[in-house]
Amino acid sequence: MEPLLERMCIDAATESADAVDKWRRQRRTLQRMPSHLAEALLRRLLQRRLLYPSLLEVFKYTVEDVDLSGESFVDAEWMAYLGAFHYLNSLILADCHKINNAALWYITGMPTLKEMDLSRCSKITDAGIQHLLSLPALEKLRISETGVTADGVIILASLSHLLLLDLGGLPVTDSALNSLQTLTKLQGLDLWGSEVSNESVTTLKMFRNLSFLNLAWTKVTMLPYLPSLTCLNMSRCTISSLFEGEGQKPRLEKVNFSGATIHNTSEAFKYVETSRLSLLDISNSALQSYSFLSSMNAMTNLDLSDSGLVDDGSVEHIARIGATLKKLNLSDTKVSVEGINALAGNVPNLETLLLSGTPIDDTAIHFLSMMPALKVINLSRTHVKGLMQLGGAHDEVPSFSALESLSHLETLDLELLHIKDLALRPLANMSRLSHLTLRSVSLTNESLYHISSAKKLVHLGLRDTVVTDTGLEAFAPPPALEILDLRGCWLLSKEFVSRFCQMHPQLEVRHDLFETLYKRKEHSTPSRATTRTPKGKNKQGSSSAPPQYFVVDQRLKYSREELLSLRISLSLSLVPFLNGPTK
């Protein structure tokens, strides 16, 4: 993260259009600005909706990477200014729907441009590809889901420096793929949803360095030996054989076969070196046997969800490779308590376990407590009730008490269970629990009382519960709480929810009568903390020891009434921007 004063300067420089006018003529300063500062400034101007085409000019000697993805107002005028950039290295225009073939003319021949992303720019067609051919240094090109046809793909063959080519969702035919043989440097190729078939896959052998290949949703059923391949996506394909023939095996690391049909697993995996495989997604695919898992000793991330054939027997194979596992998804499988028992003690590093929709009950929770590294547990839509009867006694004890021993537990999803308030009592003793989601009509005010002692809670979901106004009034939110989701709590009245919000302005409260306000405001106010943060999550509010000067959420400064009036005035003042920048 950049130092504080640097951030404060960027903040001050992008405070308003007036502030921008004060510095935009300092040409010599702008010219010798380090590129990472110029790029940070450019990004912030874009976020704050202060960027317009002619302002781009001040960055033409400094900025190397431009990311305008998702900005629907970016059009040919913007491209005219970008075309004048001296050191433009990467231009990301994904989802810029106004970009058409003519707009690409402005960047023809740019000697420095190495990366171009036009994904989902639907107006780009084969004619636009012609403009791209003049980019001598182009290494990465993404044109998935554009209007480019097989003919447009064929002419890409002259871009001989290409390392990465994303043709996802384009009608690439066998002959088009054959014509790309000249791209021998390719390391990544995306052909999902294309028309390629077994006829042309032998062409892939020409790409000796190919390490990433996506053939999802194609008719391809077999692959030739590809020596460098590490990542393979063949989800929704029918797989008959992989890498057969030369006796050598590529060392795959990440494989996605979700929704694929594999008739004979041992045959399909025969020529696959699986000792380095760390990620395997075979969700929603009907396999007869999972014994092939036993040899995959490097597995960290395994997804077997949505498969009716995964049962306690399959879990035994998982347990054998459990030592390295970090994430395991068994949602919507037939794994029962027996299976969880088989896993317990064999998965010392497992951090995430998703068991949503499995037929497990409270007895499984005891076995979960024997997985010491668990951080995330999802038990939603299971038979877990949260209470167990001990021996013959009539007293019911909360089964979640067993989870208190998991010292890393951060996230617990207990949605759509038949649980009672009493079951939540052990939550107070879970020292690191930060995310809790509940959704059961049987939960009442008493739950709120139990939850209020979970001190580290950041996100609390309490949807569809019968919490009442009095309960909410008496609720003392844990100090770290940021989000309180009360959607579907139909007993709450608008007055009490809004009073609660005023009492706890640091909270983002979601409720059916309230949510709309938050949504609209985020779109209309160009405030510092609530405008879009394109990369990653907006964490400004939660960073430890937040520098108050910078992160003050504009929401906190105003009452709700003031915000509403602001919203109206701002949406008026933004009209010229929405109609397209004027300068």
Binding site: L5, C9, I10, K22, Y549
Partner: protein, 98 residues
């Protein structure tokens, strides 16, 4: 104030700012200059020259150092930055790692 508790920062135009060492240490770059064992002349004489930073900006930087100390001790005041200064100050902040 003892001389060894202060440090002199010299701007491009030759203006000298004498400030507390503690304040100057807010800048990671200055901290490194003053504390590194390499026998920099900066370490010995407590003088640092910034040929790239103008007087106006260096003055603002010094103000920021003191503001930052106050801020760290829990006193929350606003540090105002004039829009005209933002670019130069940003570059200086980047150089001084502050």
């Amino acid at each position: 104030m003892k001389k060894e508790d202060t440090v002199m920062l010299i701007s491009a135009e030759g203006f000298e700012f004498v400030i507390d060492k503690k304040a100057a240490m807010v800048s990671q770059t200055i901290r490194n200059m003053l504390t590194s064992p390499g026998g920099f002349s900066e370490t010995e004489h407590g003088k640092v020259t910034f040929p790239e930073i103008s007087t106006t900006i260096l003055e603002k930087i010094c103000q920021y150092f003191y503001w930052s100390l106050q801020y760290a001790s829990g006193k929350e005041t606003e540090f105002h930055i004039e829009p005209e200064l933002t670019l130069e100050l940003m570059m200086a902040a980047n150089y001084l790692h502050t």
